[in-house]
Symmetry: C2
Subunit: 184 residues, 2 copies
DNA sequence: GCAAACAAACCGACCGTACGGTATCTTTTT
DNA sequence: AAAAAGATACCGTACGGTCGGTTTGTTTGC
């Protein structure tokens, strides 16, 4: 209470700032750019300060990851509402989010996090659990085998894009085709 | 001393040994396990010796990568012959190779290299070029849009497998479905 | 109402180490 | 002899993490 005037010492805000700075750094310089010192500097905090909020670098990365998953959920839900929960709607939302969304599409903060997810087994597991849980909620509309293929293709396209730029892959065309496959 | 037992120096063999050891190490401990020292030790060579064959670590990684691409080409060609170059034959070979082959399927040396490909832009580019070149040779049989989707799905399935184990993904079933998709 | 006392937030200098790379010397091959 | 192959010792540094200290905020005793 009375936080209206107290401008000093706002740990929650600092935590947010650190997280955002880390994601920002990851986008700009990739995973390798995310060193504890660099993140701290970007957030206007010292290394000691950062370690006060996150006991280890691993904890920091995990924090970023959870943060991102939350936003991911939100964006998908958002698209889902407009699609009115028809067959394949989750898969369509997945396509839109991963392949064209502002927040998660290519060229987004998420890209760097994705790379982390690949190299770090524990993050990969967390991602897998997220997907499984999410999928369970959409079994009725998105259980068809072809839709799983489509979602895997989304991952493939996303991977191709982040690992070797846009060379030789017409993402827009792919997206359209995948969308049409969800309606076939 | 006694030249009867003194083995001749065979730089080409050493080079091969280094490369194989590096790939082996990558499979066992992942990318992080591939340090210059560790590779050298595994190959029964000292660091100095390794640097005699590869001027930098980057060169070593690139060497591994090219080596793998070569084997990949060979395996695909092998399968291709049996399939007799019918429509979708390259895509089928791609499926078989990446999703079930001994050499490149999951649980293979290639997995770790794949992770490297993702994080290292220059490798990613090389991969992209390889795929583009290979694809050009099969435009006639594998140009259909659905086949591109299938290949992307292969990448997606592969990614899922290496990044979070086999949890929640029936690779065998996916493989069968992808194969059937290549036959219209 | 106001200090003293305690706790949380934050700082910044320092450390250990792992790792890529180099410089130089010895051995082998031609 | 000279070039190539390989060994040994060493260097620079980037990075994650630690630790003692200082500042800021809150509670408690009087």
């Amino acid at each position: 209470m009375s936080e209206a005037h107290s401008r000093k010492k706002q740990p929650a805000l600092i935590r947010r700032l650190i997280l955002d700075s880390a994601v920002d750094l990851a986008r700009q310089e990739g995973l390798v750019g995310v060193t504890v010192e660099a993140v701290a500097r970007a957030a206007g905090v010292t290394k000691g300060g950062l370690f006060h909020h996150f006991p280890s670098k691993q904890a920091l990365i995990q924090g970023m990851f959870e943060d991102v998953l939350q936003k991911l959920d939100a964006e998908i839900d958002d698209i889902l509402e407009k699609d009115d929960y028809r067959p394949g709607s989750f898969t369509r939302a997945y396509i839109e989010t991963m392949l064209s969304g502002e927040e998660f599409g290519l060229e987004s903060p998420w890209s760097a996090i994705g790379v982390a997810t690949i190299s770090d087994p524990s993050l990969g597991l967390a991602w897998s659990h997220w997907l499984a849980a999410r999928l369970e909620r959409h079994v009725e509309t998105d259980g068809a085998p072809i839709l799983e293929v489509v979602r895997l293709a989304v991952d493939g396209a996303w991977l191709a894009h982040i690992s070797h730029g846009k060379e030789g892959l017409d993402v827009a065309a792919i997206r359209e085709q995948l969308l049409s496959l969800t309606r076939g």
